[in-house]
Symmetry: C2
């Protein structure tokens, strides 16, 4: 389940605990969800989790989903090399699918060039129902 993200970062204790918690869960967790699961390991305050999450996100080992105010482990060892990342969030089962798309990225770049906007970061999150849940229905 856990993968290494070739950079071979070494994580601190809190960062490792948080990342393991995210890796153990296929669907997003809020910071407070994570905290609750780590009380047994000695964590007590939200900030301990948020600080670890900040680092993990900066390293590309985890992602924040803006439309959920929640976090997932990165599902793709190379994603931080790619540019724009998108997320497809199933509203039925909670599963998140991570994808990259060069066409969209190029298109956004074109739009930015045309309008003079300088892009620092892009959030792309689609909500709906995943293939598995559609079959089940």
């Amino acid at each position: 389940m856990a993968h290494t993200h070739d950079g071979a970062h070494d994580l601190t204790r809190n960062q490792s605990l948080v990342l393991e918690t995210l890796n153990a869960q296929p669907s997003p967790l809020s910071a407070y969800d994570i905290l609750d699961r780590l009380r047994g390991a000695g964590l007590r305050a939200p900030l301990q989790v948020y600080r670890a999450l900040d680092k993990l996100v900066a390293m590309g080992l985890a992602h924040r989903l803006e439309s959920l105010n929640a976090f997932v482990a990165c599902a793709d060892a190379q994603c931080h090399r790619k540019g724009l990342i998108g997320f497809a969030i199933c509203e039925n089962c909670g599963r998140v699918d991570e994808f990259a798309d060069e066409v969209i990225e190029t298109q956004l770049g074109t739009w930015a060039d045309r309008t003079g906007f300088s892009i620092k970061q892009t959030t792309m999150e689609i909500r709906g129902r995943c293939a598995l849940c559609r079959e089940a229905a």
Copy 2:
């Protein structure tokens, strides 16, 4: 500044107040910002604002920016007819530019078809620096 969105909705008092507040501001406002500006008009509780915002967003007269937990008036009378809407948010001046892009929409549709995902809603928000702020620097 305010525009009508051809549907000619008629709004309730609270809805009108909230929409006017949003229209008076080029940058996004949080629900509590809006509340503060409307205390003089008699509003007292967050829920009064959130209820109005829910309706305005449903009508397409306002949009929620997930990455800011804030709201803007719709800048485009036709946007609710178009499919996907994107937002470019300037981190310097706060201004938000609303855009639609068929190529991106098509590309997402293709991705969805290929993976079997059924899209209900898409969030696309880009952060960066707008042309005006880049000139000024």
